[in-house]
Amino acid sequence: MYICTMYSRELLKGILKPIILKLLSENDKMYGYEIVQTVKHISDNKILIKEGSLYPALHSLTKEGYLTVESRMMGNRIRKYYSLTDNGKTQLSPVIQELTDFSQTLDKLFNLKTALS
């Protein structure tokens, strides 16, 4: 299920948690719908996070201690805002570094292929 997107689903497996961590590092706190809409907007509709993947990932990150939850009443319903814990902030840097490094390696690899061909 993971992420519905213009890109192959296989390509994007495993980057949902880094996306959530990165978004929350740039925004103090966010709720689920807001995360989906923000990713959709930033990626020019290329990455549409499926709710069926988002909430398991958010709850899993919360259990792992990377996120904290704050419930607020919004009109007649409860809205849960997720934010990074100190542990989550610490985790962010290596995760982003790993993804950036991976992206650069892919870039190098495919440029090399192009050069060879």
């Binding site: 299920m1 709720y31 689920g32 719908y33 709710e51 069926g52 993947s53 909430y55 398991p56 990932a57 958010l58 709850h59 899993s60 259990k63 939850v69 419930s71 919004m74 009109g75 007649n76 319903r77 409860i78 809205r79 849960k80």
Partner: protein, 148 residues
């Protein structure tokens, strides 16, 4: 445009009927349904149409599937660890039983000692592997019963 209490109640009833029991997840999904429905209603759709659109968008495989995925994510590491331990215990118990026989037959161990070693292996098997096996069997039969 915000959904009213009656409409909110319809969302909660839907999630309850779908079998979502995790309260935290239910709150998340209720709010998410509310946001999507309000977005559709702002585009001029009636609540019923907006609700069905939200359902197809948020939970195309059913809301319970989201809870199942959540439970899987939360327990997968623990389940793998338990299986590892049980398999290791199973291996050691089988090894101990075989060892007791292998050492008894050529006369390296006497009957009493090899009996004790075999008993230790059987004890290990009965307190580690058997309970796990029956627990899995129980879970499978409950699952089959619910599916039926």
């Amino acid at each position: 445009m915000r959904i009213d209490n009656h409409q909110l109640s319809a969302i909660k009833t839907f999630l309850k009927n779908e079998g979502v029991t995790n309260v935290q997840l239910r709150d998340d999904l209720t709010d998410h349904f509310g946001c999507v429905i309000e977005e559709c209603m702002r585009d001029g759709k009636a609540f019923e149409d907006a609700f069905y659109m939200a359902r197809d968008r948020i939970a195309p495989d059913g809301a319970l599937q989201i809870e199942k995925d959540l439970n899987y994510l939360l327990t997968v590491n623990r389940e793998i660890m338990i299986r590892k331990i049980v398999f290791i215990m199973g291996y050691f118990s089988a090894y101990t039983i075989i060892l007791s026989i292998a050492l008894y037959l050529p006369g390296i161990l006497d009957a009493n000692t090899s009996g004790l070693v075999a008993m230790a292996g059987m004890l290990l098997f009965s307190i580690s592997v058997l309970p796990f096996y029956f627990y899995l069997w129980y879970k499978k039969s409950i699952h089959q019963f619910k599916e039926a």
